[in-house]
């Protein structure tokens, strides 16, 4: 579509990017009387880097002093329990254990412990016996560890989607499949062009993850760059749930990454990873044999009992690493009202609520008048997780709504009612349903239920079966009707 034909729209504040950073900012700003729009390039929020994030809520002991990462990590960690409770997102506060496998490594462990004490992070130093009593499946080679009980894990997509739902419920607007393809400033106004719209904004918050530098360059700022760093992760069958209780960290052997971890996710599946490899392309999400070999051998050093035959899924993500190796949280030096929230890599997820909480203040300092809404609703309610209810509760639900009696995903026990609800709350794709309800995330990986999910999406969205997609335009699952390839259509 050429620019002339595009719809023009004026808003006060635009957030570019619906990752964990952008959605939490949108929620924060939806507390105020503001004309607010979030632009997301994928078919759902949280599908960039956020989707592949390992979900760890860090304790606040890894970050170097004096960095923005250190400034925001522990405060963010402290915000998680209330944030997740308000948004009805599961947060597992299962603690973080950094283990030493030698006396040299114990020096690092002591250093983390001291740092924790200095920062006010709750930490304990554990002896070998104490570690093994807490985590009997750890390697007997462990020498000692530092334990941070207030570390935990969440499902990052779930949090981003919930934050966005809450922001929308409080008046924010969301446009998906709307990448910013051009941007420019004219005086105090900024303009953003998407495939369908030209948007005029007073304030632009650039939280575009891997693409924050590309958008900065559109505005004429070329003073930072984002380098994609790939991490592969491997998920185990629920059978391995409980093999470890806390997230197990090794003592890191590189400056850049925290190492390969053993992560009990908040959904129960054990996960190992991530690797940390610079890649050239911002869309290379392939997994590899080498990635697997490295992850599996490293994680087996920590937990010898891991069995590669029980792996059910693998995926990769790209960290938006800035060339400063720290967050970039600042206004553009050349364009007024343009705020960069860039390079939000580890501990980005943990820090994001604290950064988002600072954004209103930053905007006020730039002259924006913020009037709090009287009716801001911080809580997201009404999300049903059928599989977690008692038999009596399940029975009662079915009486109220028979669609709870139709189990669509057998492996994860997900009902038709939950799937329809997920669609009404924003899911438009198979992956959107999977990430919200877990339908298709289990041991058969939607082998059984995919055709039914397709049927429900087709019906609820009023689109033909052939248009139902895995994750947005171009990823439609079935391309042809029966007999169509024989040159005959179905009427």
């Amino acid at each position: 579509m050429n620019s002339q034909a595009k719809t023009r729209k004026a808003v006060q504040v635009v957030v570019i990017g619906g990752g964990i950073m952008g959605t939490l900012v949108a929620r924060e700003l939806s507390r105020y009387e503001l004309d607010l729009l979030l632009l997301e390039k994928e078919a759902e929020v949280g599908w960039g880097t956020t989707k592949a994030n390992s979900g760890i809520v860090h304790a606040g002991i890894h970050e170097d002093p004096g960095t923005l990462k250190a400034k925001y990590c522990f405060p963010g960690n402290q915000m998680f329990p209330k944030l997740c409770e308000d948004l009805d997102v599961s947060f597992r506060q299962n603690g973080i254990l950094v283990v030493a496998l030698s006396e040299e490594e114990m020096d690092m462990v002591h250093m983390y412990y001291q740092r924790g004490l200095e920062r006010g992070v709750p930490v304990r130093l554990l002896s070998r016996e104490e570690v093994l009593a807490q985590e009997p499946n750890l390697t007997p080679e462990v020498v000692g560890a530092v334990f941070a009980p207030e570390g935990g894990s969440v499902m990052p997509f779930e949090l981003a989607a919930a934050a966005m739902e809450n922001a929308v419920a409080n008046g924010a607007e969301l446009m998906v499949e709307s990448p910013v393809i051009n941007a420019w400033a004219e005086g105090s106004k900024k303009y953003l062009e998407t495939p369908t719209h030209i948007i005029e904004a007073e304030i632009v918050i650039n939280a575009a993850g891997l693409f924050t530098d590309d958008i900065a360059r559109m505005f004429g700022d070329d003073y930072f760059s984002i380098e994609p760093r790939k991490g592969e992760e491997y998920l185990f069958d629920l059978e391995f749930e409980g093999l470890v209780t806390s997230t197990i960290f090794p003592v890191p052997r590189s400056q850049v990454s925290k190492g390969i971890l053993v992560i009990p996710t908040s959904e129960g599946n054990l996960m190992i990873g991530p690797t940390s490899d610079h890649v050239g392309l911002k869309d290379d999400l392939s997994t590899s044999y080498q990635g697997f070999e490295r992850i599996f051998s490293e994680s087996r050093r920590l937990v010898p009992g891991l069995d590669s035959r029980k792996i059910i899924a693998q995926f990769a993500g790209l960290r938006a690493a800035s060339d400063r190796s720290d967050f970039i949280i600042e206004f553009s030096p050349s364009v007024p009202g343009l705020l960069y929230l860039a390079g939000i890599e580890s501990p980005g997820l943990t820090a994001a609520p604290a950064i988002a909480a600072d954004v209103p203040k930053m905007l006020e300092e730039q002259g924006l008048k913020l009037v709090p809404k009287g009716n801001f609703q911080p809580r997201r309610e009404g999300v049903v997780r059928f599989r977690l209810l008692s038999r009596e509760e399940q029975d009662e639900l079915i009486r109220q709504n028979p669609a709870y009696g139709r189990i669509v995903c057998r492996c994860e026990t997900v009902t038709e009612a939950e799937i329809v609800d997920a669609i009404r709350r924003g899911a438009r794709t198979l992956d959107g349903i999977k990430f919200r309800t877990r339908a298709g995330a289990g041991r058969c990986q939607s082998g059984f239920c995919q055709p039914v999910l397709m049927e429900i999406l087709s019906r609820e969205l009023g689109i033909p079966y052939e248009q139902v997609s895995k994750r947005g335009s171009g990823t439609e699952q079935v391309q042809y009707k029966a007999k169509e390839l024989l040159g005959k259509g179905v009427s």
Binding site: A482, K483, L486, G487, K488, V490
Partner: protein
């Protein structure tokens, strides 16, 4: 000229080697461990046949497609034509297993038959879930 045919009559799967003459006639045949293999290989060379199993569209049924088959094998080279012929067919529910969908299919003297019962979409729908006897 030699031609190899794997016999599929029994799990032994003997590899039968045929010597073919100028007029495509079988000059000799070896490799079969029994007489059925000779019969099979001869037929496979001279007049190979296959049973066609496919689906046809059905209106008003609990499924959009009805599985069908030819009640006898048809010449192998007719399979593509047969698929094209079934592509336009539309049958109406209800159907009982064995119902003839097309008589004398492609003029080959075989019938195309339904391979299952397929109920109408409103047949017994109020009782399709719940404790009941199947009717």
């Amino acid at each position: 000229m030699h031609k190899r045919i794997t016999c599929t009559v029994c799990p032994l799967s003997c590899e039968v080697v045929l010597e073919i003459g100028e007029n495509n006639e079988i000059l000799s045949l070896t490799g079969n461990k029994c007489a059925r293999g000779k019969t099979y290989a001869t037929k496979e060379h001279t007049a190979p046949e296959r049973t066609l199993t496919t689906t046809v569209r059905i209106k008003g049924g609990v499924h959009p497609l009805l599985p069908v088959r030819t009640d006898q094998p048809i010449p192998k080279q007719k399979l593509r034509e047969a698929m094209l012929a079934t592509a336009d067919l539309v049958v109406e529910a209800p159907v009982i297993m064995g119902d003839v969908v097309v008589e004398n299919f492609l003029g080959l003297g075989v019938n195309l038959i339904a391979t299952r019962d397929l109920d109408r979409v409103d047949q017994g729908s109020t009782e399709s879930v719940g404790t009941k006897n199947l009717r």
